[in-house]
């Protein structure tokens, strides 16, 4: 276990270096030029664009740009947004909690629903719950998220008028910012009415986003649990007269959880960064909308910083997954 941990930690810097290189190259590969945008768009004179490019340091060779980017990164400097002129780190700090709140809500909603659905499907195979789970996961995986978002908005906000949409709070309301998580901040402000409003605003985007974890976890759970239920050790448990609920929920579920943990490691960062379209539809002030704007305006520093952040989250999440494997599976713990 300790050896596993050490190996993974040693590999971490290498992985992260690779990530910086890829994000750096990717942004320079997509067409478009921030200098042109800043100099006034397509109407700008070539001279003005050139001057802007020199000012931004974009005229230097790519390797030089990369190294200076890396150097700043090592000093903890994520750079300055080309357009707002503010530090990217502090802008991310403002945006991140909103995404975190949304991702956490989607996960809190999606995981229990998804696993329950998958477990129902596995224990009642080819019956109604199984078919239902299949349809839901099919919808969750194949419908574009923005379409699902619009559909839910149309139904619950427009048609039924039951839920608000757009932003995190009703217009012209504010809450003193402490954690950045609006639901928590309203609670800290001692305003339960506003907390309720915040939660109501959270419902539609969170439900939309939750379709992904619901779809994935229900499929995973169904497959993993069905496999475990057919395994020899489950047959043993049954042959020794253990009650079916114990057989399913303790003996089989513990083993079936292993692949689910991997899934969780993929899901969390995916939900944090993957909600771009949903954030746009719901005017959610998170990383997704931030990243989209930055890409549109070729705001290199912002795009690099946000992508790097998401990549780091991925890497850390998969590290956590490996470690939790050790806790859940004694065989892995042993081998280290």
């Amino acid at each position: 276990m300790r050896r596993l941990l050490r190996r993974r930690l040693l590999l971490l810097p290498v992985t992260l270096l690779g990530v910086t290189l890829v994000t750096f190259l990717a942004i320079h590969l997509i067409p478009g030029d921030p200098a042109e945008v800043l100099a006034g768009g397509p109407l700008a004179t070539p001279e003005a664009v050139e001057a802007m490019r020199t000012r931004l340091g974009l005229d230097r060779p790519l390797p030089v740009q990369y190294l200076s980017y890396l150097g700043r990164l090592l000093r903890g400097d994520l750079g300055v947004s080309l357009f707002t002129g503010r530090s990217v780190a502090s802008e991310i700090g403002e945006r991140f909690p909103a995404s975190l709140e949304l991702a956490a809500a989607a996960l809190l909603l999606g995981l229990p629903v998804g696993t329950a659905l998958g477990a129902l499907a596995a224990t009642r195979r080819d019956r109604l719950p199984d078919h239902l789970a299949r349809v839901i996961s099919l919808v969750g995986l194949s419908l574009p998220s923005f379409w699902l978002a619009l559909l839910l908005v149309w139904l619950f906000a427009v048609k039924l008028g039951r839920l608000p949409f757009g932003g995190q709070l009703p217009p012209f309301t504010e809450v003193p910012r402490r954690t950045g998580l609006v639901v928590v901040d309203t609670l800290l402000a001692g305003d339960p009415g506003l907390t309720l409003e915040a939660l109501r605003h959270l419902v539609l985007p969170a439900v939309t986003l939750a379709f992904v974890p619901i779809a994935l976890t229900s499929r995973y759970t169904r497959a993993a649990l069905a496999e475990e239920l057919a395994s020899p050790h489950v047959r043993t448990a049954r042959a020794f007269g253990l009650p079916e609920r114990v057989v399913v929920w303790r003996y089989a579920a513990r083993n079936a959880m292993l692949p689910l943990v991997t899934l969780l490691g993929i899901l969390l960062p995916a939900l944090l960064g993957g909600a771009v379209l949903i954030e746009v539809v719901f005017s959610w002030p998170g990383l997704g909308t931030y990243l989209l704007l930055a890409i549109q305006s070729r705001d290199y520093a912002v795009v690099q910083a946000v992508t790097l952040l998401l990549a780091v989250l991925y890497v850390l999440a998969s590290l956590l997954v490996d470690l939790s494997y050790g806790l859940l599976d004694p065989r892995v713990r042993e081998r280290g």
């Binding site: 050790h233 047959r235 049954r238 042959a239 513990r254 065989r331």
Partner: protein
């Protein structure tokens, strides 16, 4: 006759595949308290399916079509799940072939044995823990306090099978069914496990149904033997009698294979019949060197008495 702990009557098990396969075709036998009964036969003869049926554990697409299985006087066929659950692991316990996959990899072995005690209402957690250690000691596991906390993968194959046996005898069942319990183990370990089973039975008067394709193994542990062929019992009798004077040609062939010591022939020529079809005559007829015209027409019946066999030829002689 209250001594009978297991009574199987005209058991028929079918698999609802396409075409349906009738794996067990009218099997009847009895096992008395403390008796050690061997079931032998080639793979696919229905011995493992019969074993699972004894616990009412025939998995779909398999199902018990008809017949009766009474364990300690309780009917298993058609019993409600609660009743079955009460029997399994308490009155009748099973030792499976491969202890590597049959134990749950993520729970400590002591816990798995303790669960079997707990769900049959045995004692409280503390006394169960003590009982687990005692059971592990009884099956010959050294340092049982420590081994109780081991995970299955931390034990050798032989140790794991000892754990399975400890689990099987935990509630002092009337019958232990052992389905090829030593097939996955190497020969020296096999001998130890057989010895262990022997000792445990001697001491507790538990009946053992011992299933094996290996007649030599059966000859070491059993008092009585049932020879299965194509889903039927073709010969049954006391071990010594059957081994000394086998009446069914199939038994003879099996015995000569097992004890000839020759490597040249490793199986009986020909193949068992297709169990998805009805059998008109004697199922062994196509492979039999004494086949007569009658053998193809009428199925021979298993006779009565202590030494029973189903063969027209032997009947006549």
């Amino acid at each position: 006759m209250n001594d009978v702990v297991l009574e199987v009557e005209d058991l028929v098990v079918e698999f609802d595949t396409r075409p349906p396969v009738r794996a067990v075709r009218g099997v009847s036998f009895q096992v008395r308290r403390g008796e050690r009964v061997g079931i032998v036969g080639e793979s696919g003869c229905g011995k493992s399916v019969t074993a699972m049926a004894l616990l009412g554990l025939v998995d779909p697409p398999g199902r018990i079509v008809s017949g009766s299985v009474r364990v300690a006087g309780v009917e298993v066929v058609g019993a409600p799940p609660r009743e079955l659950r009460r029997l399994r692991g308490k009155e009748i316990a099973m030792v499976f072939q491969d202890p590597t996959t049959s134990l749950n990899p993520v729970f400590r072995v002591g816990r798995q044995i303790a669960d079997v005690l707990a769900y049959h209402g045995w004692g409280d957690p503390r006394t169960r823990a003590a009982r687990v250690v005692e059971l592990l000691r009884r099956v010959g596991i050294p340092d049982p306090e420590r081994r109780a906390r081991a995970y299955p993968h931390e034990l050798s194959g032989g140790m794991r099978q000892r754990v399975m046996i400890a689990m099987a005898i935990a509630n002092e069942p009337a019958i232990v069914v052992a389905d090829e319990p030593t097939t996955a183990l190497d020969v020296t370990v096999e001998a130890q496990i057989l010895l262990l089973l022997d000792e445990l039975v001697e001491r507790s008067r538990t009946a053992v149904v011992f299933i094996s394709h290996d007649l030599r193994v059966v000859s070491e542990v059993c008092d009585r033997v049932l020879v299965f062929y194509a889903g039927r019992i073709v010969e049954e009798g006391d071990l010594a009698e059957v081994f000394a004077a086998p009446r069914h040609p199939y038994t003879r062939a099996l015995l000569s294979l097992a004890f000839s010591g020759r490597e040249a022939r490793s199986s009986i020529p020909g193949a068992p019949p297709d169990l998805s079809r009805p059998l008109a005559g004697c199922p062994f007829a196509p492979r039999c060197d004494r086949r007569a015209e009658r053998c193809d027409r009428e199925p021979p019946l298993l006779g009565d008495g202590g030494h029973r066999f189903a063969c027209w030829y032997e009947e006549a002689s």
